[in-house]
Symmetry: C2
Subunit: 322 residues, 2 copies
Amino acid sequence: MKESVLFWPVHLKGRTLYILDETKIPQRIVYLKVRHYHQAIDAVVTMKTRAFGQFLTVCYTFMLEMQKADGLSAGAQMRLLERVAAAFNRSRPTFPFEEVTGMVLGVARKVSGSPMFRQDFISAMNGFLEQGIRQKRYQRAQEAAALIKDGATVLTHCNVSGELPLVAEFCRKAKKKVRFLATETRPYFQGSRLTAWELKREGFDVTLIPDNAAAKVMSDGDVDCVLVGSDRSAANGDFANKIGTYQIALLARHFGIPFYVLVQSSDKLSSGREIPIEVRRDEEILCFAGRNLAPEGTAAFYPGFDVVPHQWVTKHIAIHAR
Amino acid sequence: MKESVLFWPVHLKGRTLYILDETKIPQRIVYLKVRHYHQAIDAVVTMKTRAFGQFLTVCYTFMLEMQKADGLSAGAQMRLLERVAAAFNRSRPTFPFEEVTGMVLGVARKVSGSPMFRQDFISAMNGFLEQGIRQKRYQRAQEAAALIKDGATVLTHCNVSGELPLVAEFCRKAKKKVRFLATETRPYFQGSRLTAWELKREGFDVTLIPDNAAAKVMSDGDVDCVLVGSDRSAANGDFANKIGTYQIALLARHFGIPFYVLVQSSDKLSSGREIPIEVRRDEEILCFAGRNLAPEGTAAFYPGFDVVPHQWVTKHIAIHAR
């Protein structure tokens, strides 16, 4: 099946990591060339990559640093990986960097006694990404497609890292018509720039709406189900996703519309209350494309995420980690 | 009391109408110079003026045309006013142009037998605008201020045509602290460009949030009441306002937060279902400041307004027409 470039937005080739610069879409498809983990951290903090792209960036950055570490002892290699982990853990609050780096360090420790430590680590990580992640994302997309009825209109918010075109493709294979309503998703416009772009590119039916029109399209009877992704989930099924997901879930509940979420299941946190919410810089809502939307110095509050309680989720469509 | 420039954004001086170009705020305060009613219609269609500005534009455009009509017979003057009315009635669907032009034609017909038709019409209109509108808006702002408790945070959406700083000023006079949360109000950014701008300019406490954060700030307990304006109301108390007002009202109801609306009462329509909803051009959500947010040709749906059912309104704060 053809994949959206957003489905696997990071690639490691030799000693260079290529990270899709999502801020340049839809104008251009450009990859940042990363040769040192500090550059990878920077791509995360400035949101050049996000969501699943962050996950891949973490995994591949460890592999990149190991590619370059041929002159180091196994102990020094392990310490290097620990520095990389610590740097990612400090980068952004809501995404579970600690879980991901902890998992990768676990893989490293398992093979650290081997005389082929570097090669074994890289090969174990490649296996994990292909079998543990790529294949499971395909399964999850197929599961989601099975929930969508023929002729349905699916409302989505933000961007599910290239998985929505795959869901649409599974619907097409099953001869089911599906139409998407994508919220534009201020302030980063993931809906306009990424979701509408990738769905249109693959020939699927997508209509963009302002975030403010979600309740209107629901009350007009134009939404059959909601399907969103998740940036972090808790053991009880609460999950955090892009700011605005919470109000869409509440509206869906009011209108009796099924609400589905694609999650990576996790049991590190017991409930959504424990998920830290990143507050982004005021400038990100005060300016756009170099133009001031509000006078300089205006106070702003831009929480990057909100948490949807598990009771409002009709079905979690999960990848179970390892 | 000092008025926001948005409180009375249109002025007639001699044979020129000055319409505040709201699209240039916050960068500049610029007035369009209008000498013919076609230019006034254009300012309405392109949303250079909006909401209460549209109301003033209609009233003053009739007065402008009468200023210029000194060479015409009374019959020809009346026919001119009817052409102006017909042109406004065709301009945009949701705002009640027919009600406003009908009211103005009524004023004209009342004095059309007078030998001083032009002067009497202009003087009657001036009286109506000063006593019937400006004074009543002051009273309405004072009534709204009385509902706000000391220390309250008021969430607002879009822009209430300069009336919010007046509400804040009445609170200040009553020694009540008030803080505003303004949604940015995509896609036209009235919240960022107008509401935050005018409140900050007059020294009031305002914080801008993405439209997507409304439910989050409510669930965090950060909102004591909602106060919005209205573009059109029905006899049963339903009202239309900028797209997104409906979902804010629904969220407020869920969280038990009082929801107040400043309306011009009207009994022309029996319920909100009869209010026609303008659908704006796709480009208005696909582009911003000359930059494409989504690929060209992406489908979009941008209803300019939505309708809040009267049951969700805690209190209507009304101006009763005439």
